[in-house]
Symmetry: C2
Subunit: 322 residues, 2 copies
């Protein structure tokens, strides 16, 4: 494993000169440069990034912590990674499984300078714990949180959710049942607010029908189809927490011989592949844009730049389930 000193020796120059040709910095004569490059080539030399990182105090590695891999997170991850790679950063992935201890590993990685920054896509610890680590490097999140230590690329779900509700209303549905994710998450709160305002606007009884919490998986959706079949006072439409749930609901409904949207309508959320596949009406949620913004925030902090963020908005995608 040749190092910079060996190259210097063989090229008959000093290590600093080699370093200069490596980084195109400072002055170095044409001949010297050629000579050095020839030696580097011959010895198959490349600089050791550990040494560079140690010296520079930066690894050009950005961590990304997420509980699992799935449609929405993949989209975030993919766009984030692409943006990062374009700017010379690599990504290190921390799959937390929603386990606070594992997320702590990611945070500790930042503290121990293995990564320069961390994107906590979906958190496992409470915000205060996470905020403690922001002194070691930039931390951004996809979730809604208002803390100066943790910038967020969250988009208020209020607006997007309202788009879905208005659409259902316009289509004539009046008995809407809402299926939410974790009510502790502010994302959910935004949706709940939208529904409250929606009911107020159209003089509907907010609590006329049951609503659900802590739902989000395909299986949750499947179970909902059974619930619908067995319940007395049936909703005529569901606002799903995401496309996966909507997909489970729609496909299980078909298996049960139900007709969507004849028996009930379903509006998904996120506009992922699966919604297109199953022809589910959904809300387009510009995740890729958020991911790129997340990276921009990090890059701005790391490099003292002020790249402006992109403005983003929700959009209704009407298909066959409403």
């Amino acid at each position: 494993m040749a190092n910079i000193r060996e190259i210097a020796k063989l090229a008959g120059v000093s290590p600093s000169t080699v370093s200069r040709v490596l980084n195109n910095s400072g002055y170095v004569s044409w001949e010297t440069r050629k000579k050095v490059q020839a030696v580097m080539e011959k010895l198959d030399y490349v600089p050791n990034l550990n040494a560079v990182s140690l010296k520079k105090g930066a690894t050009k590695l950005i961590g990304i912590a997420a509980p699992y891999l799935g449609d929405e997170i993949n989209t975030f991850l993919g766009n984030f990674a692409q943006a990062a790679q374009e700017k010379g950063y690599n990504i290190t992935l921390f799959l937390t499984n929603a386990d606070p201890k594992k997320e702590r590993d990611a945070l500790e990685s930042l503290r121990r300078r293995q990564i320069d920054a961390l994107a906590v896509v979906i958190r496992a610890n409470d915000w205060d714990t996470i905020a403690q680590y922001s002194k070691y490097g930039p931390i951004v999140t996809w979730q809604r949180v208002i803390m100066k230590e943790i910038p967020s690329v969250f988009m208020d779900q209020y607006e997007g959710y309202m788009l879905g509700l208005e659409h259902l209303h316009a289509k004539g549905y009046r008995k809407i049942s809402n299926v939410y994710g974790n009510p502790g998450h502010l994302n959910t709160i935004g949706r709940m607010e939208a529904f409250r305002d929606f009911c107020r606007k159209y003089c509907l009884n907010e609590h006329a029908l049951p609503h659900f919490y802590h739902k989000g998986s395909i299986r949750d959706g499947e179970e909902m189809a059974h619930w619908w079949k067995n319940t007395a006072d049936k909703p005529d439409a569901f606002m799903a927490p995401n496309d996966r749930f909507a997909a489970g609901l729609v496909s299980e409904a078909k298996r049960l011989g139900l007709n969507v949207p004849g028996d009930f309508a379903v509006c998904g959320f996120d506009n992922t592949d699966i919604a297109r596949l199953l022809d589910i009406t959904t809300i387009n949620y510009p995740i890729g844009g958020q991911a790129r913004n997340a990276f921009s925030i990090i890059q701005n902090r790391l490099e003292g730049k002020t790249i402006p963020l992109t403005g983003l908005k929700f959009e209704l995608i009407e298909r066959k389930t409403t």
Copy 2:
């Protein structure tokens, strides 16, 4: 940013002693240890991993290169990451987009010692190029390749594919059309061999129906539904290259008013969520096991261990499309 020397000074000991308490190595008296720990605590000290990596010549980071994120790869990635994290390694992700240059970045990361090893899930460069890099650290792959430089956790698709073919035959289908991925990949070759042997066994004409290559996306599946509708000599069953294709085919068929398996049967491959969702008969392909084996191979090489690999096999999952 306190360093080891500062801690030593404040604790009134030498840096080596601090290092010893850090690593639980060598002798250090109870009192000294306590004293040192107290100072570390007070200064919020943790060792700088860059320095450790430089010194030790290892980063405890394993790269994983994949073209994109999707069902099968997620499964691989998730299991691989989990196995790695359990053993104290972190994962750095290289999304190549099937672009050889981007894969090269991953390979270069290995050469420049940013990562200790690399799992090339699905390659973008030719094997010879990749093999060149194996001198810088262990490289494993998920794909089939027989090269001493690149161990593979590939499972011969012959066996799995045959399971599907036999199933279709048992169900009475005789006009099977095969849809393959990249015929250059040895994975595909195994499947083609299976089909040839299958035809031989049942005295069928291997070329009675058209087969397809370079297919694999949802959209490819959707297009196949249209092809079927417009073609004269129709197959009565499709062996899909993966579940995504099968899903596209099945869902588009429904949109076109076709009946699966009435008009034609579909057998997927991989047994991912989407197949369950759409009730598609498929072949269970133990990806998680392969991922864990991939990590074991790397760990064995890196740490000179000989952890045995797990034996794995295919399985038919019968659902509603056959």
